[in-house]
Amino acid sequence: MSEAKVPAWVNIALIPFLNILLAFIVSGLVILAIGENPIEAAGYLVYGAFGYDEGIGYTLYYATNLIFTGLAVSVAFKGGLFNIGGEGQAYIGGLGVGLVCLALDHTMPLYIIAPLAIIGAAVFGAAWAYIPAYLQARRGSHIVITTIMFNFIASSLMVYLIVNWLKEDGRMAPNSRTFEENAWLPYLHELLSPLGIDIGDSPLNLAFIIALICCVFVWGLIWHTRWGYQLRTLGTNPTAARYAGIDTAKVTIWAMLISGGLAGFVGINEIMGVNHNLLLNFTAGYGFAGIAVSLMGRNHPIGIVLAAILFGALYQGGAELAFEIPTITPEIVVVIQGLVILFSGALEHMFKDRIEGFFIRRAVA
C-alpha cells in the first residue's frame, strides 16, 4: 500500500540522485585525503566525459557495452533471475563475432559479415547462458552459482582457444590476426563526416546504434508481448504463474537465452567495432558493471541508457582525471567508480525506506 503514497519522482529521480551525490561526497573525501582539490578533480572528470566531442564519443562508446550488459541483467531480472554471468556471456559472444569475421573477411563484404557477426554474438552468448539456465529450470541448480562459475570457465576457455588455436602464427601476443577492413564495423565519425557532421575521432561505432535498437526491442518484448507478460508474471509471482499455466521452466530458459544474447553483443562493439581482432579480456568487467547499471536504471531500458552513460562518463572522465592530476592514479579512479557502484547499486536501499517513510508520513499528515 505504501507505494501508492510515494510520488513517482522520488523513486525515479530523488533516490538515485542522493545515492550518486553521496558517492561523490565520499569520493571527494578520498581525493582530499591524498591532498588534491576535489572540486578541481570533479571539473576534470566532467570535462573529460562531456566537455569535447572526442570525450563524448568515448563516453558513449563505454556506455554501449554497459547498455548491452545492463539490458542483459534486466531481462533475466524481470523473470526473477539474477544473471551474474554477463561477463562470461559477453566473452563467448565475442568469440562468435571473432570466428565469423576471421572466417569471412577475405571473401565477404561488410553487409554480409555484419548481420552474421550479430547472429554469432547472440547465438554464442545465448549458448553460454543456456547451460546455467537449463540447470536452474530443470535441475534446480542455483543460477547465481552456475553463472559465476561459467565466467571462470569462459575465461579459461578463451585463453585456451586464443593461445592454442586462434593466435597469429609467429607472434607472441595472445590475440588473433587483425581482421581485413571489410570486417570492421564503421565508426560513427566516419559515417557522419560525409554528411558534414563532425563529431571528433573516437571508438564510438555502429554498435551504439545497435544498443539503442536493443533498448527498444527489450522494452517491446517485456511490456508488449505475451512472452514478456509471462516473464513478468513469473518474476513477480511464481505461484500465480503456475496458476496461469505458464511453463515456468521454458520461460526461465528463454529469459536466460535472451539475456546471454544481449550480453554477447558486447563482442560486436569491442571485437568488430574497436579492436578488430580477437583478444584476451576485452570484456574488462562490463558484465559485472551491467548489474549495477541495471539496478540503477530500475531494470527499465530508459533508466539503463542513462545509468550506462553515467558509468561511461566515469570510465572516460576518470581516465582524463588520472591524466590531468598525476597523483590521482588510475587506481583511485577505480575507487571512485567503485563508490558509485556501491552507493547506487549495493546500497540502493540505504535511503529508500527512510525517504519513502518521510513522504508517507507527510502524505498521511
Partner: protein, 518 residues
C-alpha cells in the same frame, strides 16, 4: 477459568498486532495456569502463530503486555523470552541438520571461546534432563539422521536446557506419524507432571481434546472462547472455530443437474515431504449444480482445487473431463485445463489469483493472456485489454473503475471481483471457486453469490470450496465434507444443518451416532 490466588504461568493482556491492513491479533487475553497443558485452536490464518511469535519475541505487540508468573515482562527478542523461561518448538524445526544433538542443544549457549568445556557440562546436564523427563536420545547422533519424532524431541530438550518452564509447541503433530504423535503427548504429560506449563497450538480437534486441560479458541485474530476440556466437545469447538455468521440467503430455484461434466476417481496427492495430502478423493460434478466442499481449512480442500485445475500434478487417480482422461501419467497443466473450459478462482487471490504488482487490466487477463482477443500478431493488444477491463469493471461494479491502478491498491473485495469476473466471463463449463467471499464486504458477497447461481442456471457445473458453513449451505445443491485429505461424507444440501456438518468436519459424526464419545 479457575479462579485461584496462584499467579498464572503466563498471562496475556489485550495483545493486538496489525500487519498493514490485516489485524492479525485483536485484544487477545489469555490466562494459562501453571502446570497445565493449554490448547489454542483456530483455523489457518486465525492468528495463532502471530500470537505465539509475540510471546516468543519474534514480533512486538502493538498494544498490550505479557505477564509471566504474575510479573510483567518485556519481550523484545527470543533471548528475552528464553530469559523469562519460555521455550518454543517450531512447526518447522530450527535445528542445524549436520550438527549432533549435543551441538544443537548448546547452540547459542556455548559459553566461552572453546567448545570443549561447554559441551562437557552440557552432556551431563542433558543426560540429567533426558532422565528426568524420560526423553531418551543419543546425544551424539547427527540430527539429520534422526527420525522426525526424535528431531522434535531435540527441540524440546533444547528448550528445557535453556531453563524453559513454559513450552510452546506450534502445530507439533503436523509432521509426525500417529504413533510419534501419541509418544509426544505422553512426553507432554510427563512434562506437565514435572511442573512445566505447555501451550499447544493446533487446528486438529481430536488431539487437543485428548491431551489438554484447557482450550482457547481463536477466530479471525480474536480470542472467541475459553473452555475447560472436560466441559466441551469437538462439535462445539468446530463451531467456535468456524463461527456463526450473519445468515446468508441466496435466492435460487432447485437445481436441475444433468450430464456429468467432471468425474474424479481416487485422487491422491503426496506433497514434497511425502505426506499424503489428498486421500483417494472421488467425486462427480454435474451440469447445473453447485457442489460444495465443506471442511475446516487445511484438510485437503486446497490440494483438491490445485489437482483438479492442473496446478499440481496428482500422484494417483484419474479425472474424466471434457472427453479427456487425465491421470498421473497423462497429466494436463493449468493452461490445458483452461483450454478445456475449466475456470478456477483460487482460494488465495494475493498469492495465486493475481499479480499484485500488475495494473488491473494486466491482472485481468492472467491465465488467458494467450487468447486471441488480447493479442495482435506479435504484440499484445493493450487497447483491447483496456477496453474490456473497463467494461467488466462497470459490469461488476469494481471500485475505483481505473484499469491502470495497481492491483495491490484495490480493496480485497474489489480484487476478488476482478478475479471472479475474469474467470466467469470466459463462460467456462466448470468453475472451481475457492473462498469466493473471503474478506469481501456484505454487498459484494450478494453480488458474487448471484453470479455463481446465474452461472449454475445456465447449465454450468460449479465446485465451491469454502470454510464458511453458511456460504456452503446457502449456495450448494450437494455438499461433500473433507477431513484430513479424504471425503468423509456427502449429503444433499436440503438435509444439511450446522450440527451435522460440524460433526462431519470434526470427523466425529458416525462415532457420535454410534454412541462413542469423540
Amino acid at each position: 477459568m479457575t479462579n485461584n490466588t496462584v499467579p498464572f504461568a503466563i498471562e496475556l493482556r489485550d495483545i493486538s498486532k496489525r500487519f498493514g491492513a490485516v489485524q492479525a491479533n485483536k485484544d487477545i487475553c489469555l490466562q494459562v495456569p501453571a502446570g497445565t497443558i493449554h490448547g489454542i485452536i483456530g483455523e489457518n490464518g486465525a492468528g495463532k502463530s502471530t500470537l505465539m511469535s509475540i510471546i516468543y519475541g519474534f514480533y512486538e505487540a502493538d498494544t498490550g503486555f505479557i505477564e509471566v508468573d504474575g510479573k510483567r515482562v518485556d519481550i523484545r527478542s527470543s533471548q528475552d523470552a528464553i530469559d523469562a523461561g519460555i521455550g518454543m518448538v517450531h512447526q518447522h524445526f530450527m535445528l542445524v541438520e549436520n550438527f549432533s544433538v549435543l551441538e544443537n542443544v548448546v547452540l547459542g549457549t556455548e559459553g566461552g571461546a572453546l567448545l570443549k568445556g561447554g559441551l562437557t557440562a552440557a552432556r551431563v546436564e542433558l543426560q540429567r534432563l533426558a532422565k528426568e523427563y524420560s526423553l531418551d536420545i543419543d546425544v551424539d547422533a547427527i540430527v539429520e539422521e534422526l527420525p522426525v519424532g526424535l528431531q522434535q524431541r531435540v527441540e524440546i530438550l533444547k528448550a528445557l536446557y535453556r531453563g524453559a518452564r513454559i513450552l510452546i509447541l506450534d502445530e507439533p503433530t503436523g509432521v509426525l506419524t500417529p504413533q510419534e504423535a501419541d509418544h509426544l503427548f505422553r512426553i507432554l504429560k510427563s512434562l506437565k507432571e514435572q511442573g512445566v506449563t505447555v501451550l499447544l497450538i493446533t487446528h486438529k480437534l481430536r488431539e487437543i481434546m485428548a491431551s489438554t486441560d484447557n482450550i482457547s479458541v481463536m477466530r479471525q485474530g480474536e480470542m472467541v472462547a475459553h473452555r475447560e476440556t472436560q466441559h466441551t466437545n469437538t462439535e462445539e469447538l468446530a463451531e467456535l472455530m468456524v463461527g456463526k455468521k450473519v445468515r446468508l440467503t441466496v435466492n435460487k430455484d432447485d437445481a436441475q443437474p444433468s450430464d456429468v461434466f467432471l468425474s474424479a476417481k481416487n485422487l491422491t496427492q503426496f506433497d514434497g515431504q511425502g505426506v499424503k495430502r489428498l486421500k483417494e478423493v472421488s467425486l462427480e460434478l454435474r451440469a447445473g449444480e453447485i457442489l460444495g466442499i465443506a471442511g475446516v481449512s487445511g484438510n485437503g480442500q486446497s490440494e483438491l482445487l490445485n489437482v483438479l485445475s492442473g496446478i499440481t500434478p496428482m500422484s494417483e487417480g484419474e479425472i474424466q473431463f471434457a472427453g479427456q482422461t487425465i491421470t498421473a501419467k497423462a497429466p494436463k497443466d493449468a493452461a490445458q485445463m483452461r483450454d478445456l473450459k475449466m475456470a478456477h478462482v483460487p482460494e488465495d487471490r494475493h498469492k495465486m489469483g493475481l499479480v499484485t504488482g500488475f495494473e488491473a487490466y494486466e491482472a485481468a487477463v492472467l491465465g488467458y493472456h494467450n487468447s486471441a482477443s488480447y493479442n495482435g500478431k506479435i504484440l499484445m493488444d493493450h487497447t483491447a485489454m483496456l477496453e474490456e477491463c473497463k467494461v467488466r469493471m462497470a459490469d461488476w461494479d469494481v471500485r475505483p473503475p481505473n484499469p491502470h491502478l495497481k492491483t495491490a491498491n484495490f480493496s480485497g473485495g474489489n480484487q476478488q471481483k476482478i478475479v471472479i469476473a475474469r474467470e466467469v466471463e470466459q463462460n467456462p463449463d466448470v468453475l472451481l471457486i475457492g473462498q469466493p467471499t473471503r474478506g469481501v464486504d456484505i454487498g459484494a458477497i450478494e453480488n458474487i453469490h448471484e453470479q455463481i447461481v446465474k452461472l449454475r442456471d445456465s447449465g454450468k457445473a460449479i465446485l465451491l470450496v469454502s470454510v464458511e458453513l453458511d456460504e456452503i449451505m446457502a449456495l450448494s445443491d450437494r455438499i461433500i465434507v473433507m477431513f484430513d485429505g479424504a471425503v468423509v461424507g456427502e449429503l444433499d444440501a436440503k438435509d444439511a444443518d450446522e450440527r451435522t456438518l460440524g460433526l462431519m468436519m470434526a470427523n466425529a459424526y458416525n462415532k457420535e451416532e454410534q454412541g462413542v464419545s469423540a
